[in-house]
Symmetry: C2
DNA sequence: ATAATAAATATTGTTAACAAAATTGCCGCA
DNA sequence: TGCGGCAATTTTGTTAACAATATTTATTAT
């Protein structure tokens, strides 16, 4: 992510950020049709840049692209959630293995800052900010591996991860899920604190376990909730 | 990959396949500028679809995209080669772990066919066909994991992998690299036979070792050769 | 001659119009 | 009423022209 309304130079990016935010923040219903001319009209630009953005979003998985028929907001199933969490976790562990669990001083600082952000956002109902903070935290783990292309792949999963955040949040608000007596925000803080602790002490094994716990728990929550209230599919 | 001139419906895809082939087959020099109007003229279509293709190629990593300045054929360094091989190998091992090393009957059949293709292509000087056969072989490994999104990520690395093939082939033709007395084609056959053998016997550990050997050896060859003749960067 | 500057050219970014395809709504008909 | 097919509409795919930016060439001053 790392949006922060910066560097929105060209129109394709304006459309891209707009649509991503709309989708991740839940202002567009899954399955909803995305009509190029409508979008370009609301953004006061032409269809070209909007098409660019939609193609990018299709690659990211936030949008389903049906040739000659247009785009729809992606319907995300519990399987999708499982896959995204599994993959992000796997890529992060892969990076950590490469770095031997060692995140440099700058990275640790960035993670501490991100964690502070997460804490300060607890209960603030600012999903996008939460997603960005989470992103910043985990990014440092991936970057520690020093593998550019690994980072790019991980980054490509970020928008979908953000969308899953929305689902998790919605579930959390319905909140029949047991969190050992903690709120969604508190659980998130606990998990990230554990990861940071492991990384700071350079304990690769524990860091991997902490990451697994974090992502698997998220997947679990979505899966369980899909059994109760019927999520998509 | 899986091209085979099928389903080239829309013009964006025509441009995409054309450019990918040109780059992977080495008909375009690394660093070379890709002028939209030139390409659209040679393909007898307008700039729009060409732009689409270039954006996709930039995501795949075959092309460097410089905003407001245009695209150039990517300069691939030994580090890039290492990263691509490392990532593809890691994703394949991840998939195999998920499937417990078990590839179903259809998958095995497809791998055997792909291996036959690789064998029949030895020394035929048809790089694209070689890449496609290799692709088919490894795809079955990734598919065994049953994780759609993992497969998509792996697929995204395919064009870059194809480009690396070209480099490997060129190095092989200069051939100061020791291959234990074997040609590049024979080495490739040996490695794939070992992988297939492991997968057929359901030996996850050995399959992972075989994959590592395959990809690490490739990376090694490129790295060593970069020390002798100065590759890009 | 060289460097700085300005004009000319080339190239990308964006738009609006056109073509092709899909969707919708209407009508007749059983 | 319900169903098939044709016309009207909508929407995507493509194009060509226009605008903005970058690059090259030419010009001038030192």
């Amino acid at each position: 992510m790392s949006n922060e309304d910066n560097s929105k130079k060209n129109f394709s990016d304006i459309a891209l950020w707009y649509l991503r935010e709309q989708i991740i923040d839940g202002h567009m219903q899954p399955g909803e049709k995305l009509i190029e001319s409508n979008i370009s009209e609301t953004l006061n630009l032409s269809r070209g840049p909007v098409r660019d953005a939609l193609k990018q979003l299709a690659i990211e998985g936030l949008v389903d692209y049906h040739p000659n028929k247009g785009c729809t907001v992606a319907l995300l199933s519990p399987k999708d959630a499982y896959e995204v969490f599994f993959l992000r976790g796997s890529l992060e562990k892969l990076a950590l293995e490469k770095s031997g669990g060692h995140v440099d001083a700058y990275g640790i600082l960035a993670m501490e800052n991100a964690l502070d952000e997460i804490k300060s956002l607890a209960g603030a109902d600012n999903l996008l900010a939460e997603v960005n903070a989470d992103e910043k935290f985990h990014a440092q783990i991936v970057l520690s591996g020093q593998i550019t292309r690994l980072y790019k792949m991980w980054e490509l999963l970020s928008p979908l991860n953000g969308a899953m955040f929305l689902t998790l949040k919605n579930i959390g608000e319905k909140a029949e899920i047991d969190n050992f007596g903690k709120s969604r925000g508190d659980r998130l803080i606990d998990q990230h604190e554990r990861i940071l602790r492991a990384v700071k002490s350079g304990d690769l094994e524990e860091a991997c376990r902490a990451l697994d716990a974090h992502y698997l728990r998220n997947g679990e929550i979505i899966y369980r909730s899909s059994l109760k209230n019927g999520l998509n599919k």
